[in-house]
């Protein structure tokens, strides 16, 4: 079969080559070159006033080990980790239960998960601002019920940022876990039950391992963006919760240290590649398209 294809590619290449040419050019000019450009920039020096000096230096990378940066780095990783764990803990049972619903309800629940995802993410974060504010809904309610006397400080802290991140990213987790649970053959679970496994045992030894690909995909989809969503920590965390995303933004726009911003981006990209690499290795998936 494959041999037949070879002669035909030569003939049709005119068409195919013409078709893919704009795509290839665009990818080169607007993806490859800008990324290579910031890679180069990260090895340059900040000019005294504005812009960059075309001189090789490792300054930016050395500065990464500065305690200030290390702290932001740690905080960012910790938040991304917690976000992933919480979305998984809340999202997995949700996807699992949803897959067991009768078809009519199932499609409704899935739709309800997808709709907020299509609305503006700022809108949804703003809703949390109203809820968590010191004169906001939750505090007023608690005071009215006499549970607390003075408003709790719910907004502008790490917890609020975590809530916002989990909230913004949980649809990714639910949908990718759901996809793999839906593909799972129920006969496998039934077989383990027939052989005497308890419900829990069947769940842990059959369902969870069989849906590992979905879990992995969900984790990648949550972890990667949670490092860079600067507006969530900007709005919910105030100035206190500094994340890698905020740091890059500040280096570029406030400190105007572009090589530093570039170096941070390169580090962030390397980390992303590592996470994706681990995903590919563990899930056995060759391409990343499965997770988009």
């Amino acid at each position: 079969m494959k041999k037949q294809k070879l002669p035909s590619t030569h003939v049709s290449c005119q068409g195919a080559c013409a078709a893919r040419l704009p795509f290839i050019l665009w990818t080169m000019v607007f993806v490859a070159i800008p990324l290579l450009y910031i890679l180069c920039m990260s090895f340059m020096k900040k000019a005294a006033t504005w812009g960059i000096l075309a001189e090789f230096s490792l300054d930016s990378y050395q500065k990464l080990f500065d305690p200030v940066y290390v702290k932001v780095f740690g905080q960012s990783m910790w938040l991304a980790f917690l976000t992933t764990v919480f979305t998984l803990l809340i999202g997995y049972p949700f996807a699992y239960f949803t897959s067991k619903l009768p078809p009519k309800w199932r499609s409704l629940v899935l739709l309800l998960i997808i709709v907020p995802f299509w609305t503006n993410s700022l809108v949804r974060i703003y809703g949390w601002m109203i809820l968590l504010r010191s004169q906001g809904v939750i505090n007023s309610l608690l005071i009215m019920l006499g549970i607390i006397d003075s408003p709790l400080k719910l907004l502008y802290n790490f917890g609020a940022v975590l809530v916002g991140m989990v909230y913004a990213l949980i649809p990714f987790m639910i949908l990718s876990v759901y996809n793999s649970i839906a593909k799972l053959d129920p006969a496998l679970v039934e077989a383990s039950r027939d052989l005497g496994a308890s419900r829990w045992r069947a769940f842990w030894t059959v369902t969870v391992p069989m849906t590992r690909a979905g879990i992995m995909a969900g984790c990648v989809l949550v972890f990667i963006p949670s490092v860079g969503l600067f507006f969530v920590s900007d709005l919910l965390g105030g100035a206190k919760t500094m994340l890698l995303g905020n740091l890059i933004k500040n280096e570029l726009l406030t400190a105007r240290n572009w090589p530093m911003g570039a170096a941070l981006s390169i580090v962030m990209m390397t980390m992303t590649m590592i996470v994706i690499g681990i995903y590919k290795k563990v899930s056995g998936e060759k391409s990343l398209e499965g997770i988009v």
Binding site: L111, W118, T119, N120, L122, S265, S287
Partner: protein, 261 residues
């Protein structure tokens, strides 16, 4: 068995309630007759203020224009790329494909930073043009992936039959391939459109002082402080999304029933 499914139902309802809580709060507050946080009666004031807010209106039109232009250019580029690459083998194909997917793989802020640096290196004026270039780039993968998935499902013998009967490459594309992949182009383009409408991070780095998009406008308003107009704006946006989703569902439902009629 029964008890278990009851727990499942409660759990699902609870999570959904939590998901919609912030949205409901925004909608309720958009009708609140005060800038403060207590309930002071029903009003539509914020809606009329919103209608008269020129900067929001311009931002909205900018967003619409940007999303339409970038998702359409991405549709053309992505479809052509998928058609030209799928099922064909050459050395750099794998690398090329991976590079083309980078925009939606890495955190958005990296792409934003790269464009800020790259476009100022090229001395492009920041504004609509730079945003259009950036948005088109991150829209392409959504269409590419959708179309590619459809193309690999297609039976190649259909196109081969057309070729055997003497159709040229262009004719095969327009008469055979395009009608077959059109639904995936459409769904990819819609997804890209929604992503472009919602984008904060990349627009933030590629916009100029003069041009704003709706998400950027909302972001700066939120940072400035409380203006209940935002509540009204958010409610309108939510309403629009629900409306579009409902119509899409209706169209799909009608399509499904067509064979029966």
């Amino acid at each position: 068995m029964k008890k278990r499914s009851r727990f499942a139902e409660v759990y699902i309802t609870l999570v959904l309630l939590l998901m919609y809580l912030p949205i409901i709060v925004v909608i309720v507050y958009s009708f609140n007759d005060t800038k403060m946080f207590h309930w002071a009666g029903f009003t539509l004031d914020w809606y009329s203020k919103l209608l008269n807010n020129m900067s929001i209106r311009t931002a909205f039109l900018n967003s619409l224009q940007l999303a339409a232009l970038s998702s359409l250019s991405a549709a053309v580029l992505g479809t052509l790329g998928a058609v030209g690459l799928t099922g064909r083998y050459f050395k750099a194909r794998g690398i090329l494909e991976n590079v083309s997917l980078i925009p939606i793989m890495i955190p958005e802020i990296i792409l934003g930073m790269a464009y800020l640096a790259f476009f100022s290196f090229l001395r492009l004026p920041f504004g609509m043009l730079t945003m259009l270039l950036a948005h088109t780039t991150f829209c392409i993968p959504y269409i590419y992936i959708n179309v590619k998935a459809r193309l690999t499902d297609l039976d190649p013998s259909i196109a081969e039959a057309a070729r055997d009967l003497g159709a040229g490459y262009v004719r095969v594309f327009f008469d055979i391939t395009l009608p077959l992949i059109f639904p995936s182009i459409l769904s990819g383009t819609l997804l890209a459109f929604a992503m472009s409408m919602d984008d904060v991070v990349i627009s933030f780095f590629t916009t100029g002082a003069q041009t704003s998009t709706l998400p950027l406008q909302v972001y700066s308003m939120l940072k400035m402080g409380v203006t209940p107009e935002i509540n009204a704006l958010c409610t309108v946006m939510l309403g629009a999304v629900f409306f579009i989703v409902a119509i899409a569902r209706l169209v799909r439902a009608r399509k499904k029933t067509r064979p029966l009629l």
